[in-house]
């Protein structure tokens, strides 16, 4: 595991990729998360709404992005985690997540690392841009 305390600002502290997203993965996430919005699992509904196909739940991709925490720390040391959803993630997209150290800071008597989190597809298109704060 990378040592956040000794990492330099700008350093990539975690990077990993997912398999291409399948319709099956969307159905499993719908059931696991309780988000039954049909636009992610029912192609008839998606087409009726003017979309060419179902597409990934944003929160599925944020879930992928959140896996960084076990690569650099532990979930109990995560203080904040936020993201903007910049573009729709399509079926077939393989997501690469990257966590980069922005800086460390002292807050509430602890040292915290502020990280930039990016999720891109195989073409390099940015899908999610987030931040996390982890206590060191």
């Amino acid at each position: 595991m990378i040592d956040l305390a000794s990492a330099e600002p700008g350093a990539v502290v975690a990077t990993y990729s997912t398999e291409p997203i399948t319709r099956h993965a969307l159905a499993v996430y719908a059931g696991a998360s309780g988000d039954y919005n049909p636009i992610h699992v029912d192609i008839d509904f998606a087409r009726g709404a003017g979309m060419p196909d179902v597409f990934a739940q944003g929160m599925l991709v944020m879930g992928y992005l959140g896996r960084f925490v076990n690569l650099v720390s532990t979930p109990d040391r995560l203080r904040e985690f936020s993201t903007r959803f910049l573009a729709i993630t399509q079926v077939g997209d393989a997501i690469t997540c990257t966590a980069r150290l922005i800086r460390t800071e002292q807050v509430d008597g602890e040292t915290r690392a502020r990280l930039e989190l990016l999720a891109r597809n195989q073409a390099g298109d940015l899908k999610l841009k987030g931040e996390a704060i982890v206590a060191i």
Partner: protein, 148 residues
Amino acid sequence: MIDRALIGTVFPVVTVEVSPSRIALFARSIGDDNPIYHDEAAARRAGYRGIPVPPTYPFALQMDRPDPWELIRILNVKLENMLHAEQRFVYRAPIVAGDRVALTEQVAEIYEKKNGALVFCRCHAEGRLADGTLAVELDRTLVVRRDP
């Protein structure tokens, strides 16, 4: 048009029990095979009082409301015209399997962009453990395309 008078609208409080099988399924669905999400002994060895929830799991707790689309109805928009624009979690205390989490949520902000073509609605939620401890704060921002 979404009425700004809806700011402050409070949703009914809902209490959700966190189950270990649901955590395991959720972790699998996001491809996280870390043993702390699947094995109580591993979680305890790692210092947790039970199987912890993955970072984005509190959003799934919110979906366990009896009517998860209440917001859509209140805003009077079509589900298919709505997208998730932003999501933020602030973690105050760990949530583990077996906890009962009471969720409160209210409409915090409504604003427009692109001359009103896009309307944003941010809802702020808090999850508290049975003893009243604030465990997590959630802000979900939805964006609605207004019908042309």
